[in-house]
Amino acid sequence: MTNNKEPAIGWSREQMAQRVALDIADGSYVNLGIGIPELVAQFVPPGREFIYHTENGLLGMGPAPSAAHLDPELINAGKKPVTANPGAAYFHHADSFVMIRGGHIDICVLGALQVSQFGDLANWSTGAADAIPAVGGAMDLVAGVKTIYVMTTHTTSDGQPKLVPQCSYPLTGKSVVDRIYTDLAIIEISEQGFVVSELAPGVGFDYVQSKTGAPLIRESN
């Protein structure tokens, strides 16, 4: 049942994004973090409609434009060109963060450097002395959005666990993450710690545990 081989196993980034999208209810207001989370928009299940918020001041964000329709003043939080869907609205930054801080956004999908077993998130700084600290809207999002999903590779590029007993990097927020989608598993944050709710095809519980820095709990059936 277990699989301890090292070659590419588990979900691809696209499959992770698809899996996240499946868990978002029709009609949700969604904020997608920069990077991998942006992929989620490509996998909206048939019959569902999500409305995307980008914290720089647009609700109803659409996909990237064709080269002919680029507008350097219509961008997302990652400063990449986007479009506005019918029914969109522009607003200023204070109003945009009313949506975030006021708890009006249903779901935010973010990347992570580390997630602790009790849902602490570190995703803005490694705390290195020579780093330029930059936080953007991450702390506002985890403090205000109703549900926080993290989407991340299960380990760092050099194989270190990103799911840890306690974050060693500076926190973005404490006890803020609800669920983690990795290439290996879907993991809920419970009062007891990490609970594995789903394993990627061909991936065993023990293998995931071996890649995780804190104890995993099998979901009780």
Partner: protein
Amino acid sequence: MINKVVGGPTEAVADIFEGATVMIGGFGEAGSPIELIHALIDLGPRQLTVINNNTGSGHVGLAALIANGQVAKMICSYPRTLNSTVFPELYLQKKIELELVPQGTLAERIRAGGAGIPAFYTRTSINTPLAHGKEVRRFGGYDYVMEFGLQADFALVKCRVADIHGNLIYNKTARNFAPIMCTAARCTIAQTQQIVPLGGIDPENVVTPGIFVKRVVEVPAPLLESKLVSEGKHYP
């Protein structure tokens, strides 16, 4: 897919419950969602806390809701206006509670409630009876009063145009409290004179983005409170 349009005022307000806190848009009759208020009278929940700048006039709209015994407490800045007799009478009989809040503080408290700000400081009301019992704190050599954010279970507002996602635009000074109330209520219900298709409102001109609105109901020709009052109408 997202379509927030509901059939009519009755359906729109059907889940407003006894003891609910309800923000109601309008400054006097400008922006008063009178059809939604009348539907709330038909529904009949009692012990409501109502947040509005005033207390209605005559015996229609908000005044009729109060006259019907449904309002336990008003939070407002100016409870007496022309033709306002219902609230004053009940207040003097101690049958209704009043929390009097300066108009700008009321607006800011509602905005704070919608913005996830639990409390803020303002100079307004400092050294007056309306600051009694409130925390006073000094910043930069001046005293300020601490005020709390206000939230509600429901907001009832009136607008001019809405789309099916709940994006709203208003008419002139009827805008007043509606945009901030939409942000501060768990369930915002907007009556609109017109519903347009998606894209019918320029994204640059949206005043209330749809994220703040749960239900939209079309009332193409809303009643005019001042006209009803001058005709001596009572609701119901």
